[in-house]
């Protein structure tokens, strides 16, 4: 979970989430055991690639950022003090790598005029209940693709904040620091991102957006 401002999220007890021998692997990698570091790479490569892809929305940049993040983490491993999870530390490095790629390719992508006020267009219409577990109507691969397409529909300022806060579970303060934003700006963007994704999933669960989000 995010360190300071979240109630425990379901991800904190995500099945199979590996934490138990992470400390041992990091200690071995610090001692120069490349095999141990490769085990950490295997463990997190999928999540780090998803993170960098969701920030850059560019396969080449995501691949480069993933590679650079793992390399830098290895090079700076001696500076990792273990006061957070290794994965959290790795996420910070990967976010910075991905943001550098994004800024290089699209310099104005993160800037946005905004206010904390809720606008009229944010107020949801035609609210309907989803039932207890709406995502279980889909097979895992189908759901993964749908979610990837849904998050890609967000504009970058919203997509990146959602990625850091709700998927990587960074705190509001850390997200603000990494992105060079104020805390109110992060909160404002997070609200819009959550409402937009809720709306997208709402359409999906009610059938109207299914073909669009599933693609060809």
């Amino acid at each position: 979970m995010a360190p300071t401002d979240r109630t425990p999220s379901p991800a904190a007890s995500r099945p199979g989430r590996p934490v138990d021998d992470e400390t041992a692997l990091v200690a071995a990698a610090k001692g120069g055991d490349i095999g141990a570091f490769e085990s950490l790479v295997h463990r997190y490569e999928g999540r780090i690639y998803r993170l960098t892809y969701n920030i850059t929305q560019n396969r080449e940049d995501a691949e480069d950022a993933t590679q650079d993040a793992f390399l830098k983490s290895y090079q700076h491993l001696s500076g990792f003090q273990g006061d957070s999870r290794f994965y959290t530390w790795l996420v910070r490095i990967a976010v910075n790598e991905a943001l550098m790629k994004l800024r290089r390719r699209r310099p104005n992508e993160l800037s946005l005029d905004e206010s904390i006020q809720t606008d009229e267009d944010m107020i949801p219409r035609e609210i309907e209940d989803w039932g207890p577990k709406p995502d279980q109507r889909f097979e895992q691969g189908e759901l993964q693709n749908i979610l990837a397409r849904a998050i890609a529909t967000l504009e970058p300022p919203y997509r990146i904040v959602f990625q850091l806060r709700d998927i990587e579970e960074l705190s509001t303060e850390e997200t603000a620091r990494l992105l060079g934003l104020s805390v109110p700006a992060v909160k404002s963007r997070l609200l819009r991102a959550r409402l937009k994704l809720r709306h997208t999933l709402d359409q999906l669960f009610r059938g109207s957006a299914r073909s669009e989000l599933q693609g060809s």
Binding site: A2, D5, R6, T7, S9, P10, A11, R14, G32, I34, F37, E38, V41, E45, G46, R47, Y49, R50, R59, E63, T66, Q67, F70, L71, Y74, Q75, I116, Q117, T118, M122, I123, P124, I127, E128, D129, W130, P134, D135, Q140, G141, L143, Q144, N145, L147, A148, I151, F162, D166, I167, E169, T172, K187, L190, L191, R194, L195, L197, R198, L201, D202
Partner: protein, 84 residues
Amino acid sequence: MSCKEVNCRTLLTELCDFLDGGLDSETVQEIKLHLDRCEDCRILVDTTRKTIEIFCNAEPVPLPQGVRDRLHKALEQRLRGSNS
């Protein structure tokens, strides 16, 4: 603007802090009282919470094989090179 709209708008402004546990207990109680009366807001809170959970719990799409191969080849070259 009716009283209900004001309350619904306030709920929207506080939605993230409410879901993230970032509000004081008095505000939480006021919101809960509103949710008891307002089905739309109750569903909004529930479906927004589910949206976060669905994204948060989703496993990432497996890394494409080509990407994985290139990643491991590059890391192997750089890591073993830096250790030699």
